[in-house]
Amino acid sequence: MTISARNHIVFSPHRISAMVLRYWYLLRSSWPRVLELIYWPMVQMLMWGFLQLYLSENAGFFARAGGTFIGAVLLWDILFRGQLGFSVSFLEEMWARNMGNLMMSPLRATEFVAALMIMSIVRLAVGMVPVSLLAIGFFGFNLYGMGLALGAFFANLILTSWAVGILVSGLILRNGMGAEGLAWTIMFLLLPLACVYYPVAVLPWWLQIVSWSMPPTYVFEGMRSLLIENVFRPDLMFQALALNAVYFAAAVVAFLRLVDSARNNGSLMQTGE
């Protein structure tokens, strides 16, 4: 039996793939977990889709703004489910009391984060691909019709979702399962402020400043510009990307510090409240 030279690699794709494999085994062993990935995005899409249908038949503006609600709900789900996919994979380790095994293995914190990021995309794909196809069937709304713009929207939203997921995971590691609620609720703070369903202009001026400090705001404004005015705004995407770079880097630094703090106060030994 030999131990590989890979153990000396600072950032090992092999260890990352071990963790991805671990979550893949878990996902495929549990149909309720898979169902849950599709269930809520589908309910949301149907509810907002029918509301949009009703409004478009009764209001001129909404007839013109075809698809903004369904588009918003699908993009919101990329943001929300991306973070949830990250955080739930992390929580699986806490629920399974497996964190001690991982923290005492050669796995590095940055590799763990990378594996969670990959899993958030896998979980997102399992949930969102069928729902986006259903949106075509039910409402004739083709998310993929946004073309390259969808790629820019997706990249910015997933980066924000990872930054939030990384921060929340660090807080749970540091403070125990008492902080678990953050994983399920923190993103809803962004829902009104990132102007998912309405333009930033409806907010009072001081709240607009807060709103523009959030990368998703640029994505949802960009989506409305694309769907209502048929104009893609790369300037908005670049501004979102710049903000995301700052938030993502800050989240990684915060996570590493929280892990150090957890190591210092002994919380890596406990996974309870």
């Binding site: 030999t2 085994y25 293995s105 890596l268």
Partner: protein, 253 residues
């Protein structure tokens, strides 16, 4: 990383204080290559915290821990692949099968020929019939065997065991001890075993470190401890120390 003359584990004036409570209060010891040492003590004696600091899971408040020459936790990634541990207080994912769990951990530890290694351990630890069963469906004895297989995946030079036979029936516990003994002899590994179980320590360990309230109360071979305290079993020595009779005896002598 460490030279042959260096101890495998060197603990020097190690202190851990959680807020205001001192879990470990300035302990020092060294473990030589191939030795098997018992860390004995009652609840709250500081055994688990000591092991956690040796594994790099907890940062010491002061003092130092060196494992295979690496300072823990700062240089832990230099040596974690040469160490492993087993504890009943840490689980493996329940929905994953034994094979899946062992595969994931073998990959994390950088084991080559993963399938072959898993099957070798499965044979040695009598896991062949359980290999494709989810870990959540195993009895506690079976789970302990799987945890032991996980701890031996990388053939560690340093093996840390935190109450490895807790909650096992006497037969399974004895079986596990036998496997640990064999592994240590075959691999020449250094083993540190924290336990409440005196007969286990008596059978396995060539040296016993007795802890109480974060301090080392005594440190010697089982034979010397029995002689010094005038007792027939380590359990009696443990009770003497736990109830403060050891100090009274030494003072009287």
């Amino acid at each position: 990383m460490n030279s042959p003359s260096e101890p495998v584990i060197a603990v020097d004036r190690l202190v851990k204080v959680y807020k205001t409570a001192a879990a470990v209060g300035g302990i020092s010891f060294r473990l030589e290559p191939g030795s098997i040492t018992g860390l004995l003590g009652g609840n709250g004696a500081g055994k688990t915290t000591t092991i956690a600091m040796i594994m790099g899971l907890v940062t010491p408040t002061s003092g130092s821990v060196r494992v295979l020459g690496a300072e823990m936790p700062r240089q832990r990634h230099h040596v974690l692949h040469r160490m492993n541990f087993e504890s009943p207080y840490v689980d493996m994912p329940m929905r994953l099968t034994v094979r899946q769990n062992l595969t994931v951990f073998a990959m994390l530890y950088g084991v080559e020929n993963v399938d072959e290694r898993i099957m070798t351990l499965a044979e040695q630890l009598d896991l062949i019939e359980l290999i494709d069963r989810p870990c959540g469906k195993l009895s506690s004895g079976q789970k302990t065997r799987v945890a032991l297989a996980k701890s031996l995946l990388n053939a560690p030079e340093v093996l840390l065991l935190d109450e490895p036979t807790a909650s096992l029936d006497p037969d399974t516990a004895d079986w596990v001890r036998g496997r640990l003994e064999n592994y240590r002899k075959e691999r020449g590994a250094t083993v540190l075993l924290a336990s409440h179980n005196m007969s286990e320590v008596e059978r396995l360990c060539e040296r016993v470190i007795m802890m109480k309230r974060g301090h080392i109360e005594d440190d010697d071979t089982p034979v010397n401890l029995l002689a010094r305290y005038g007792r027939e079993t380590l359990e009696e020595v443990f009770l003497d120390i736990a109830r403060g009779r050891g100090e009274a005896r030494e003072a009287a002598q």
